[in-house]
Each structure stands twice: as structure tokens, then as C-alpha cells.
């Protein structure tokens, strides 16, 4: 049962071939059996089973959705009433939220059963999941490799089939990079499609919730229950609801796929390039036209991102002062000392580093040179995408320069770590939808991801383009051997 897709599980549930409780128990058992992955931070079987029982009643009543009874796990960036919400930080150890994130609530309303909370980089800052206060997550394909980050727990859980789907968030690549490293499907929608209400903020102008699944079809099904306007988030986009599965069956004939030449330059490892080129060739075989395009300033994405994201994070993380909730130092002198000690103890090295960078770039006298300049370049990068979409319907290329690196390999070199997001950051800065789908294996038999990007609000098209590839290939059906 665990190798089934979300779509198949939904059908099995409605045909009463399996009950939601049985399914929940099956996944809870797998989670327990594969604890060494360290993908989950909080599992509460009584909560999960109660939700499963409610789902079964709903199915019996006949008012189920295609998602009712299907399990899902949530990245620990989403706050939840029923599970602790820590953002993988010591700062929020044991923190219980009095409300659910909108994404969690919507999926709950659709009848999905929550399996628990997933490990990630602390406050979603990182590309390896090494930056978690609660330990690193193993890559199910190779336990010496990182699963990617920041949504490493989500990626590993789906890859290991200990959850059929997992919510995730993407700020600069935190869905696409771990999806690529872990050999699964991950998509971030257009900025504004998913509500940020209840997402512990890292960089508000970039943070966007998405989903990790085994296939594009599953992602489309879940998007139907997950996305939509939310009055509680001022940056949420007020558009009519749509069916994200509507373009899944659309053929590829005549589709123009833009291939940005800058994504195939220096730094791209040959194993990754080979798998990506083969995927592009498959698209060409199916009738798509490959178009050479240019995103000349895409590489500036990294410096731009590492000004804007830390600037916003330095302010977003100010609320963690030990006054009202979260970690408070045991010993302190005066008020300032309490705040300083609580923050110094509560935050790990990466949030501390980014708070420092962000505070610096926003400081008097530096603001124009860094923050304002970064916003200008961000605009230029977004404009370049618009020009590119004049020549093509979707953009395709690698997600990362290499396959998953080894645990601890880049921990000592933050800049090398930051470069992992070279190909994903430009799309984040523009706010366009992007995804990663598995397209083969590279060095050490580690997975390679193909990145697909579309213009604003074209998730349905993007998912269709991914689904067509997955109809012709079986990379997305491969399961790491220890978990099969």
C-alpha cells in the first residue's frame, strides 16, 4: 500500500479497500521502523488516529474529497495545534501553537490525516538540513548524503515512503533542491498562491508553501485542497479557485521549452548535466520544441538573495526575545541581558549568521548600497523571466549543480552551501512557480532533479508538463532499496 500514489490511495479509500485508520497505522509503523532517518520531529499516534477515524466516518457518510483519509506530514515551519511547532530550533522547543497554519487547516478540512511534523533546517535556513537543532536527516538513497534543505525531512519522508506527501516551504530553493537530492517531486507555486498564515516566517517576500509528493499528479490533487486566497495573509492573491489537474493530460506537441544557457555553464557537474540533457531529449521526442534562452543576470540571484532574505529574517526573528514564549535564558542580569542571552542560546549558528548579515545590510548608511540595490536587481531578474516567457512556455534546466553532497561536507563553508541554490534562487526572486522532478541518477547513484518553471499562475501547465514526462519515465516510481 505504501508504494501507492496519493491518487491511488484516495481511490482505495473511497472503494473501501482500506480504511483511513489502517492506512494511518501503516504509515505510523513505517515512521517508527525508519526512525533512524530522523525525518520526523513530533509524532502523536493518538492525534493521527483520531483524525483517521473522523476521515473514515466522512467516507462512510459519503462526503469525502479525493484527499479524505490520505495521510500527509507537515514541515515544522507550519504551526499546528496538535503537534509541537519548533521550526527545528531550540528557540521554540516544545512550543504549542493555539492555531493551525492555513495550509494545515485546509488540508485537514479536505480530510487529509496529519502524520506529524517534519525536520528541516532551523527556521528554514539551509540547503542540507544540517542546521537543525534536532539533528540532521539522512538521505534515504544514501545515508552518507544530505537529503537537501531546508525541507529535508519532507523530502526524505516522501522518498522513503514513510509519508505519501509532505508539505514544505521554499524561500530560495528549499522545496526544489531537497526534492532533487532525494529523488522525488516537489513544487512551489506562484508567490501568493498558498497562504503564509501560520508559516513561521523566514523571508516574507520569498517564503512560499508547496508540496512534496511522488508525482506531479499527486501534487496537482493536493494543490486543489491546499492553495487559495486567505484574507489573513495580505500577500495572498485573490483569484478564483482552479482545478490544478486540468492540464495533466495535455500533450506536449508544440510546447516550447526554454533552456537557459546560463544554467549549463561552469560549475554544473557532468553527471547532472547528462541526466538533465536526457530529460530534455525525452521532451523533444514527445514533440516539445527546445528553445535556447538567456537569463543573463540569473547568477546575481545569489548575492541579491543573501541581502534580501537575511534583511527580512533579521526583522522576522526579532519576536523571539524570550519575553512571551520560546526559550528564555535561565540566568540573566537586566532586561537587555535577558533578551541577548535568550537569543544567543535559542538560535543556532545559521540564524545567528543571517541575523547579523541582515542587521548589517539594513543599517544606516548601508541600506541603499545593499537593500535598495538588491531590490533593483531583483526587479531586473524578474523582468528577464518575463522576456524569456515571450519565447517559451516553460523553462527547464538543472535544479542543482551536483547530486546530494555528503553530510557535513559544506558545513564549514557557508558560501559553498549558499551556491547550492544557484539555479533555484532566480525563480524565487521572481516569485514564479517552479518544481523539481526526478530524471535519473548521477554520481554515487544519487538522484538528479529536473527543474521546470512556468510563468505566474501557470501551475496547472507546469504540472501537466511534469506529468507527461512521468507518463513516459519511471524515475518517480523508484524507491530506495532499504525502504521498498
Amino acid at each position: 500500500m505504501f508504494e501507492k500514489s496519493v491518487a491511488e490511495l484516495g481511490r482505495a479509500l473511497s472503494a473501501k479497500q482500506v480504511s483511513a485508520v489502517e492506512l494511518a497505522q501503516l504509515y505510523l509503523d513505517r515512521i517508527e521502523r525508519h526512525k533512524q532517518l530522523n525525518a520526523f520531529l513530533d509524532v502523536r499516534p493518538e492525534v493521527t488516529l483520531a483524525q483517521a477515524r473522523a476521515a473514515d466516518m466522512r467516507i462512510a457518510r459519503g462526503d469525502a474529497t479525493p484527499l479524505t483519509g490520505v495521510p500527509v506530514a507537515h514541515k515544522d515551519i507550519f504551526v499546528t495545534r496538535d503537534f509541537a511547532s519548533t521550526a527545528s530550533s531550540r528557540m521554540l522547543e516544545g512550543y504549542m501553537s493555539p492555531f493551525d497554519a492555513t495550509v494545515v487547516e485546509k488540508l485537514g478540512n479536505a480530510g487529509m490525516v496529519a502524520l506529524g511534523k517534519l525536520n528541516c533546517d532551523e527556521f528554514a535556513m539551509g540547503s542540507s538540513n544540517d542546521n537543525s537543532h534536532y539533528g540532521n536527516v539522512l538521505n534515504p538513497w544514501d545515508k552518507t548524503a544530505v537529503p537537501g534543505g531546508s525541507s529535508g525531512g519532507s523530502a526524505a519522508a516522501v522518498a522513503a515512503r514513510i509519508a505519501p506527501a509532505a508539505t514544505a516551504t521554499d524561500t530560495g530553493g528549499s522545496i526544489r533542491e531537497p526534492a532533487a537530492f532525494s529523488g522525488i517531486t516537489g513544487i512551489k507555486p506562484t508567490y501568493g498562491r498558498a497562504s503564509r498564515w501560520g508559516m513561521i516566517a523566514f523571508a516574507s517576500s520569498l517564503d512560499q508553501a508547496g508540496i512534496m509528493t511522488c508525482s506531479a499528479e499527486d501534487a496537482a490533487l493536493i494543490f486543489n485542497g491546499m492553495l487559495g486566497f486567505d484574507a489573513k495573509d495580505s500577500t495572498s492573491v485573490d483569484r478564483a479557485a482552479e482545478d490544478y489537474t486540468r492540464e495533466l493530460q495535455r500533450g506536449l506537441k508544440g510546447l516550447r521549452i526554454g533552456v537557459p544557457r546560463e544554467f549549463f555553464g561552469e560549475g554544473l557537474q557532468p553527471d547532472v548535466e547528462k541526466a538533465v540533457r536526457e530529460a530534455l531529449a525525452e521532451y523533444a521526442r514527445q514533440g516539445a520544441e527546445l528553445v535556447d534562452i538567456s537569463l543573463p543576470n540569473a547568477a546575481l540571484g545569489i548575492p541579491v538573495y543573501y541581502v534580501i532574505a537575511p534583511a527580512e529574517c533579521s526583522s522576522n526573528l526579532s519576536r523571539f526575545d524570550g519575553v512571551r514564549y520560546g526559550h528564555r535564558a535561565a540566568q540573566y542580569g537586566d532586561l537587555d541581558d535577558m533578551i541577548k542571552k535568550s537569543r544567543a542560546e535559542g538560535f543556532g549558528p545559521e540564524p545567528r549568521r543571517r541575523i547579523l548579515i541582515g542587521t548589517y545590510v539594513l543599517s544606516h548608511g548601508y541600506y541603499d548600497a545593499y537593500y535598495i540595490q538588491a531590490q533593483k536587481v531583483r526587479r531586473i531578474i524578474a523582468d528577464e523571466f518575463q522576456r524569456a516567457f515571450g519565447q517559451c512556455d516553460v523553462i527547464a534546466g538543472p535544479v542543482t549543480t551536483s547530486v546530494a553532497f555528503g553530510f557535513g561536507e559544506k558545513a564549514a563553508d557557508p558560501v559553498a552551501m549558499y551556491l547550492s541554490d544557484l539555479y533555484t534562487i532566480p525563480g524565487s526572486l521572481a516569485g514564479i512557480p517552479g518544481m523539481s522532478i526526478p530524471c535519473g541518477f548521477g554520481a554515487k547513484n544519487r538522484p538528479v532533479g529536473l527543474q521546470l518553471m512556468a510563468n505566474y499562475f501557470e501551475e496547472a501547465k507546469l504540472l501537466g508538463v511534469a506529468h507527461q514526462y512521468q507518463q513516459a519515465t519511471d524515475w518517480h516510481r523508484r524507491i530506495p532499496k532499504d525502504f521498498a
Binding site: 507550519f78 504551526v79 511547532s85 521550526a87 521554540l92 512550543y95 501553537s97 493555539p98 492555531f99 497554519a101 503564509r196 498564515w197 501560520g198 508559516m199 513561521i200 516566517a201 523571508a203 516574507s204 517576500s205 484574507a231 489573513k232 495573509d233 495580505s234 500577500t235 534583511a311 527580512e312 533579521s314 526583522s315 526573528l317 526579532s318 519576536r319 526575545d321 519575553v323 512571551r324 514564549y325 532586561l335 537587555d336 533578551i339 542587521t359 539594513l362 543599517s363 544606516h364 541600506y367 537593500y371
Partner: protein, 476 residues
């Protein structure tokens, strides 16, 4: 050598919305600590701000009332600093692009009317409160006030004395209540001023300013500025230098004292708040609001002056607040232009005096405008004299009914029947031969005494004008 004083004011007016500027928690004053703080106000992880349209509407009303530019697009920015009563670690405010730009306010000074230019007005949220009493060695935090909408109104440094600063603050206070955007309750902190004060030799460049924070009464504003001016002049005349600083006023000592200097001022690291989109105000929305604006005090003053033939002074007093003005106008409309002056006298005299003495707001007056019009009407048509009217007023205040009911019940109707008055006059003449003789021998005073006797005999009800006429005629 003389000194020129330069003063600019920054005024925080609490906007009268039901809920907070970025959350749906109530803004009502005086609730138990932290009972009116939502997850947004407490800044729980994952919470986000949503702008209250009512707060924006009030800012627009203000901008329209002072003839300012309403920015079509303005930006909310974060002002970053750590303080335990600032839950997010930043205050959402407006920095580079405020909602209201420019405008002006007319104030009354001893030299007549003066125009004070406004720099800007911007929307922001209030912080919570730190409570230092009741906690041994610790501070309590009350977040009920956190997120309360404020409009910070910044003036140009156009004032040159404490009197002018107070006149400006009063005019502003009256205006924000007039246009119904702020309850003006200074004790509850709904209207607080920061005063920037500097002195210079006439013609010299601006002196270094010190900012007196958080003055929440006109009296403190006056005292603080006067003290500060004196202190700065003395410091300079003693050869000292003024250091840019923020100071606090201590009302008990009547002194200002240093809080922090420019050197240890915060770097607030302002940047646009990515949680809030730019605030867009359409021409259509602005015009809708303009259409709902009440007549403004200056316009109304001019209009009632001509319409009801009042003096400039009367018109000014009657337009001190919108409640008084509309109270007056209700009565004036009933009585008509001829008797409007009488109505004005009664509103400004008997009614205002009583309201002040009893500390009652006109809106809560036991005598509402329609009822009061009934009283003034009876004075105007000669049913009762002014003196009797005061008795009726007292009875009405005490809730004894309408003017007509009281006049009827107490038999206070003025005697205007000349036959009846003649009868009384005859009796008085007969009984006061001495005074009659005195008058006839040229003692004018004796006449007044006789009038008094007649009024007394009529229990005050005789029409005084008629008594005069008849008495004069009879005494020949």
C-alpha cells in the same frame, strides 16, 4: 539680546476604530491586562498583519480636513528595536511614503489667526505597556494597547511660543474630534504630543533641538515647553551648548530631564514591511470619503456667522466642537435668524456654564437641543422673562419636563395683559407715596425701586418692558 523660539509638534492621535490596526482584537480601554491581545498582537509565530480599512479611512478624513495630499500609494515600514512591550521586535509604521502629505491648520493666537503648516501624517501601531508597579524586581507586560491604530501628525516648526504650541494642539484636538477620527481622551492617552523645541538668535540658522516626549495634557505641554525654553536660553547664555536629545517632562518637579542623546539613539533599520502590500488609495475611495465629510469648523464658523447674524466671537465659541455647533444649530433653526443671537447667548451662557460646572459633555446634557429650543422659544415670544427662564432651566436640568410643562405647572407665564399690570402699578403707586414723590422731584433711582416693587408684586411674572411703559405713563 532676544531669542527666537522654534517649536514643532508630533502628535499621536489614537484612531477611533473598534478593532486594532492589524488585528481583529478590540481597542476598548480599561480591560484586564492581555485580554484584548490576539495572536497577531502577541506576535505568535506564523501570525500576520492585515490592515484595518477603518484606520486608513480616518487618515484620509484627516488629510482632507487639513487640505493635504492623500498619497495614492504609501508604504508600511518596519521600525526595528527591542523592547519587551513591542511584541514583534519592530513597530509597523510609515517612513518614506506616508499616507498624508502636507496640509495646514489655522490656530488662534493673541496676535490673531495664524497658519501652521503640517509636514505629514502617517499610520502606525501603538506598543503595549510595561507595568513596573506590583511586580517585585520584575516588570509586567500588558499588550492590550499593542496594535492600537495611531495617526502621527507632524507639524512644521512654525510655532514660536508655548502659547502657540498649545493653541495648535487645541485646534488639532478639536479638529480630530470634529471629524470623528479620535475620541480625544487625553487621560487615556488618545492624544499625546511630542514637542521639538529649539531657540536661536533672530535670523540665525535653526538651533539644536531637544524633543520632549509624551505630553498628555495641554497644561503639561505649556509647562514643559516654557521650562525647556528657559533652560535652553539659560544654557546658551551661560556659554553652554545644546546637545540634541530626547527629554521627559516631570510634572511634579516641573522640569524636563534627559532620556537619551543623539549618540545613543537607535538605528531603527527601517525597511518596507514585506507582509503588507503598498497601501493604494483610489481617487474614487477618496471622493466617497470626501462626500461623507462633515462641514469643517472653519467653514461652519463663516456660514453660521452670516446665516444667523452672529459676531465673529460667538461663531468661534459655538464651533469649538461639533457637538456644541450642532446643538446650537438645532435651536437656531427652530427659532429663526431673528432670535439666533438669543439662542447663542443661552447656549454659551447658561448651558455651557452648567455643563462645565457639572462636568457633563454636551452630548450627555440632561436638556437636549430640541427641549432647550422650547425654553429659548418662550423667552423669544415673551411668555417668560429671562429671569424666570433661569428657573425653568434649573427645573428642566433636574428632569421635571419640558419648558411648557414647567411654566404651566408652576404658573410662570409672564403677565402681558396691560389691564392686569395697570392694576398692580396702581396699587404700588398708592402704597409708595414717598418714592413717587422722590421720582417726581428728579430722583431717577426711585423709578427702579418702583419697578422692583411691581415685579415683586407680580411674583416676577409681569412683562418688564410693559411695566416700564405703564409706570412711566402713570407717573407722568
Amino acid at each position: 539680546m532676544n531669542w527666537e523660539v522654534v517649536i514643532g509638534l508630533e502628535t499621536h492621535t489614537q484612531l477611533s476604530t473598534q478593532s486594532k490596526i492589524f488585528s481583529d482584537a478590540s481597542t476598548a480601554f480599561g480591560a484586564a491586562p492581555n485580554t484584548q491581545a490576539s495572536v497577531v498582537d502577541v506576535a505568535l509565530p506564523g501570525s500576520l498583519p492585515v490592515l484595518n480599512k477603518g484606520a486608513v479611512e480616518r487618515a484620509i478624513r484627516f488629510g482632507l480636513a487639513v487640505g493635504a495630499t492623500i498619497n495614492r500609494r504609501s508604504i508600511f515600514a518596519r521600525k526595528n528595536y527591542f523592547y519587551p512591550d513591542l511584541p514583534k521586535g519592530y513597530q509597523i509604521s510609515q517612513y518614506e511614503l506616508p499616507v498624508v502629505l502636507g496640509g495646514s491648520l489655522s490656530i488662534q493666537t493673541k496676535d490673531g489667526e495664524k497658519i501652521v503648516r503640517l509636514t505629514r501624517a502617517h499610520l502606525e501601531e501603538d506598543a503595549g505597556k510595561s507595568l513596573h508597579e506590583d511586580f517585585h524586581g520584575m516588570s509586567g507586560i500588558d499588550l492590550n494597547r499593542a496594535g492600537t491604530p495611531l495617526l502621527e501628525i507632524v507639524s512644521e516648526p512654525d510655532m514660536h511660543s508655548a502659547d502657540e504650541a498649545v493653541a495648535y494642539a487645541k485646534a488639532l484636538h478639536s479638529l480630530v474630534r470634529w471629524i470623528d477620527i479620535c475620541d480625544g481622551n487625553m487621560q487615556e492617552g488618545s492624544f499625546r504630543c511630542d514637542a521639538n523645541v529649539s531657540v536661536r538668535r533672530p535670523g540665525a540658522p535653526l538651533g539644536t533641538r531637544r524633543e520632549i516626549k509624551n505630553l498628555n495634557s495641554f497644561r503639561f505641554l505649556q509647562q514643559a515647553i516654557e521650562y525647556e525654553i528657559k533652560w535652553q536660553i539659560e544654557t546658551l547664555e551661560d556659554g553652554g551648548k545644546i546637545q540634541q536629545a530626547t527629554v521627559l517632562f516631570d510634572p511634579d518637579k516641573g522640569e524636563t530631564r534627559m532620556m537619551r542623546t543623539k549618540e545613543d539613539a537607535h538605528d531603527y533599520r527601517y525597511f518596507p514591511d514585506p507582509d503588507l502590500l503598498p497601501l493604494e488609495i483610489s481617487e474614487q475611495w477618496k471622493e466617497e470619503i470626501r462626500g461623507r465629510m462633515p462641514e469643517l469648523p472653519d467653514e461652519m464658523r463663516g456660514r453660521i456667522r452670516t446665516e444667523y447674524d452672529l459676531t465673529e466671537y460667538d461663531a468661534k465659541v459655538l464651533t469649538q466642537s461639533r457637538e456644541i455647533a450642532s446643538y446650537f444649530e438645532t435651536i437656531a433653526k427652530k427659532l429663526g435668524r431673528v432670535h439666533a443671537k438669543l439662542a447663542a447667548n443661552w447656549v454659551m451662557g447658561e448651558l455651557s456654564g452648567r455643563l462645565n460646572r457639572e462636568e457633563v459633555e454636551i452630548a450627555e446634557s440632561p436638556i437636549q437641543a430640541d427641549a432647550f429650543a422650547g425654553l429659548v422659544q418662550r423667552v423669544a415670544d415673551g411668555t417668560i422673562s429671562g429671569k424666570i427662564a433661569k428657573e425653568v432651566f434649573d427645573a428642566m436640568w433636574a428632569g421635571e419636563g419640558s419648558a411648557d410643562e414647567i411654566i404651566e405647572r408652576r404658573g410662570l407665564k409672564q403677565i402681558s395683559d396691560s389691564g392686569a399690570i395697570e392694576k398692580i402699578v396702581d396699587q404700588v403707586i398708592a402704597a409708595n407715596a414717598q418714592q413717587v414723590a422722590d421720582y417726581r422731584s428728579g430722583k431717577e433711582k426711585a423709578f427702579n425701586s418702583l419697578v422692583g416693587q411691581v415685579m415683586k408684586a407680580s411674583q416676577g411674572k409681569a412683562n418688564p418692558a410693559q411695566v416700564n411703559g405703564i409706570l412711566k405713563k402713570k407717573l407722568g
